[in-house]
């Protein structure tokens, strides 16, 4: 199932603020290509993510995971379900 809008998710990565640390809960709503790329980078369900920065005008969200810094688009972040840590 692919959700059109991230707002349907209980808690999405895209809703977090810089400095928030969360656990990645579900990736299945993100686009398949992105999901694979994130898996390649070691970002999977259960990973701890720390939001670092948000781009202006809905620009990319940067987070830290296992010491690596990764940037993704906000609408993709909105489709990644997280849980507070």
């Amino acid at each position: 199932m692919l959700l059109k809008h991230g707002s349907d998710l209980p808690l999405a990565l895209g809703h977090m603020k810089p400095g928030d640390t969360v656990e990645l809960h579900a990736l299945h709503c993100a686009s398949p290509l992105l999901r694979r790329r994130l898996r390649d980078l070691g970002v999977t369900e259960g990973s701890a993510l720390k939001v670092l920065r948000l781009g202006l005008f809905g620009g990319p969200l940067t987070f830290e995971c296992d010491g690596q810094h990764i940037g993704i688009r906000r609408d993709e972040a909105n489709r990644m379900e997280v849980a507070p840590l």
Partner: protein, 672 residues
């Protein structure tokens, strides 16, 4: 001869190590996807070939550059593998390592960036890792060359070493399926070179490169049945995930076990320096203005502060001293007037006229290399992604754009690292609008004459114009010509590092060498040709230049160029010859106006153009057509003549529209 394949995750220092092991100077950089093609070198001291491959995260390729590496492994079956592993990101690097180990080839692991890991308080025990994986592990710092001698030595004794005993048990369902698939594969002769167990596992995982290697043989349909059966059996055991996910899960579990033994991250800390720099450079408000300011600084350095000063010195040297020497040497040898004119007016004028811009080109290349090596490149994509998203592109397209400021050819190849075909095609089509260093001599000449006081500003305006037009066209093309695929953006931001002076100089030299080679070949040939054409006409050799063939060729265009403000045969001739290489525009002007030095040419140009006409002309030069070499690489990367001709066609139309708007619009508001 034995062949070693260099494999590893992106941005782990494969090319740095390759350069150290072979004394090559391939381009290195601090972002994922610097190397997009395989590069072959000869190992220092002991012979044997080593192949540098684009980085990849797993053997299931996602992008074009990754599939280069995956295909290489299947098709060329290298004798041994050298796997580079980033010690500061051990867990994710080991995933590829495991897939490579399953290949069953002799393998050596280079544990790289141990210094970076140490600075973050991460320790990896190389000896224990060696024990766990069953293959030799050597700690290295490839950028500094530490441990490279050990790698060379270890590679020497690798061939004789026994096979690794490393093996993962994937559970009864998969294991029995792998055994049956191996038996079936064994009956088919085609697959003899690669390890059967590995081939079976890769097929179960859905590796397209392996599949297409087997396609055509009758085993494939049998194997597909087996795969389907296995997948059902796996479902029956109560396993919820599909097969690729299941395999990944088993491997990840093993990696976790290995890391528990060899890795100590208890005192791990984040990269504080990088974090601090990023709070400024990728700041949500000042990030983009800082990027623009940096670009302006680059143009200031290239054109105003350093470049033109050095260029004037070089001009004095070439057109004064050198030309004088050659002239008197020719007189001394009793050369004919013909030879004298050919060498002094044609070759020294044409090639020398371009070479005087060497300082600007060196400085620009050096500054681009600095950005490439520092880690800022990935941040630029992050800053620009919002804008790029709006026009239907990925922020990653900005990397090819920036490389395009140096030369469009490698820039188009850099588009391979993008995940989506639409992004790659759009970027390939639009890179020619980036002002490459070949257009720089034209700008430097014209801006120097007409806009001397604010050269950097005018030149930056041209660069920005190319960029803005590229974005506008991206919007247009993605709306009209492409399938509506949303573009993907995901970027790793590597830790910043200070580029080393030596490697910076080497990278610059490699690029400058390309320019010098061009000066010695295509620009030289072009200059000689132009000189002949400008001196011969229907009535023979030695005609007045206005009656020459060159004048009639250029004159044929002058009619359509008149509305743009430069309807002279000289401008027409320069544009035609500029297709070979954009620098040839300057060579042509030098020969046509037959001037001894830069000052003379500047004077002539000032007579021939008004400032408005000049601006229209350089804008036209910026846009009008990709050069010959770029056309070649567009054809190669798109494998389509249609898109190749499209790229030439749209740029001609665009250049015409922009130049007419500048000239006619300028006249309307009273400019001259």
């Amino acid at each position: 001869m034995s062949e070693v394949a260099l494999l590893g995750n992106p941005n782990t220092g494969k090319t740095s190590l390759f350069n150290m092991l072979t004394r090559s100077y391939e381009t290195v950089g601090n972002w994922s996807g610097v190397t997009v093609e395989k590069k072959v070198g000869v190992l220092r001291g002991r012979g044997g070939r080593i192949v540098d491959l684009p980085g990849l995260y797993s053997l299931l390729p996602l992008t074009e550059d990754e599939s280069v590496a995956a295909r290489f492994l299947m098709e060329e079956s290298p004798a041994s593998l050298l796997n580079i592993v980033d010690a500061s990101q051990l867990e994710r690097n080991l995933y590829l390592t495991i897939q490579l180990l399953e290949c069953g080839r002799p393998m050596l692991i280079g544990l790289n960036m141990v210094d970076v890991a140490r600075s973050r308080n991460i320790t990896v025990d190389a000896a224990l890792l060696q024990q766990e994986l069953g293959v030799p592990v050597v700690s290295i710092v490839a950028r500094k060359g530490t441990g490279c001698a050990d790698v060379l030595q270890a590679l020497g004794s690798l061939a004789q070493s026994e096979k690794s005993s490393f093996r993962i048990d994937y559970g009864p369902v998969i294991e029995s399926s792998v055994t049956r698939m191996s038996e079936r594969l064994n009956q088919a002769a085609e697959t003899s070179s690669s390890n059967l167990r590995w081939t079976a596992l890769q097929l179960l995982e859905g590796n397209e490169a392996v599949r297409s290697f087997l396609s055509g043989s009758d085993v494939l349909s049998d194997l597909d049945d087996l795969i389907e059966e296995t997948s059902q059996q796996l479902g029956l055991t109560g396993e919820k995930s599909d097969m690729p996910t299941y395999l990944r899960k088993i491997r990840t579990e093993r990696i976790t076990q290995i890391c528990a033994v060899v890795l100590d991250r208890s005192a791990q800390r984040i990269h504080t320096a990088t974090e601090r720099i990023d709070t400024i450079l990728t700041h949500r408000i000042i990030g983009i203005p800082l990027f623009l300011a940096l670009m302006f600084l680059i143009f200031k350095l290239t054109f105003d502060w350093l470049g033109s000063l050095l260029s004037d010195q070089l001009d004095g040297l070439i057109s004064g001293t050198l030309s004088g020497w050659i002239s008197s040497a020719l007189d001394g040898l009793g050369a004919s007037a013909f030879t004298h004119a050919l060498v002094v007016d044609g070759i020294v004028g044409g090639v020398g006229g371009v070479l005087v811009f060497l300082p600007q080109i060196c400085i620009l290349f050096m500054l681009i290399s600095f950005i490439e090596d520092s880690g800022y490149m990935a941040r630029i994509t992050l800053l620009m992604d919002r804008t790029m998203e709006a026009v239907g592109l990925s922020g990653k397209a900005f990397i090819p754009f920036i490389i395009g400021f140096g030369c469009n050819v490698p820039a188009i190849m850099a588009a391979r690292t993008m995940e989506q075909r639409k992004d790659r095609l759009l970027t390939t089509l639009l890179v020619p609008l980036m002002s490459c260093s070949a257009r720089l001599p034209v700008y430097a000449l014209f801006a120097g004459v007409f806009f001397a006081s604010d050269q950097a500003l005018v030149v930056m305006g041209l660069y920005l114009m190319g960029m803005v037009l590229a974005l506008a066209l991206a919007k247009l093309f993605s709306r009209t010509l492409m399938k509506s695929e949303p573009s993907l953006f995901v970027v790793e931001l590597p830790p910043y590092r200070m580029p080393q002076l030596l490697s910076l100089l080497r990278m610059t030299w490699e690029k400058v060498k390309g320019f010098l080679r061009k000066a010695g070949t295509i620009i030289l040939a072009g200059s000689v040709m132009i000189w002949f054409l400008s001196n011969t006409g229907p009535s023979g050799f030695g005609v007045n230049m206005n009656d020459s063939f060159l004048a009639s060729i250029g004159g044929a265009l002058s009619g359509i160029l008149t509305p743009l403000g430069f309807g002279t045969w000289q401008a027409g001739a320069a544009l035609i010859t500029g297709f070979m290489a954009k620098e040839v525009v300057v060579s042509t002007m030098n020969i046509i106006y037959q001037v001894p030095d830069m000052a003379g040419l500047e004077h002539q140009v000032a007579m021939a153009f008004t400032p408005l006409q000049a601006f229209s002309f350089i804008a036209f030069i910026l846009l009008y057509i990709p050069c010959l070499a770029t056309v070649g690489v567009i054809r190669k990367e798109t494998s389509s003549w249609r898109w190749t001709f499209f790229s030439m066609g749209y740029s001609l139309v665009l250049a015409y529209i922009v130049a007419i708007l500048i000239y006619q619009g300028g006249r309307l508001i009273g400019l001259t």
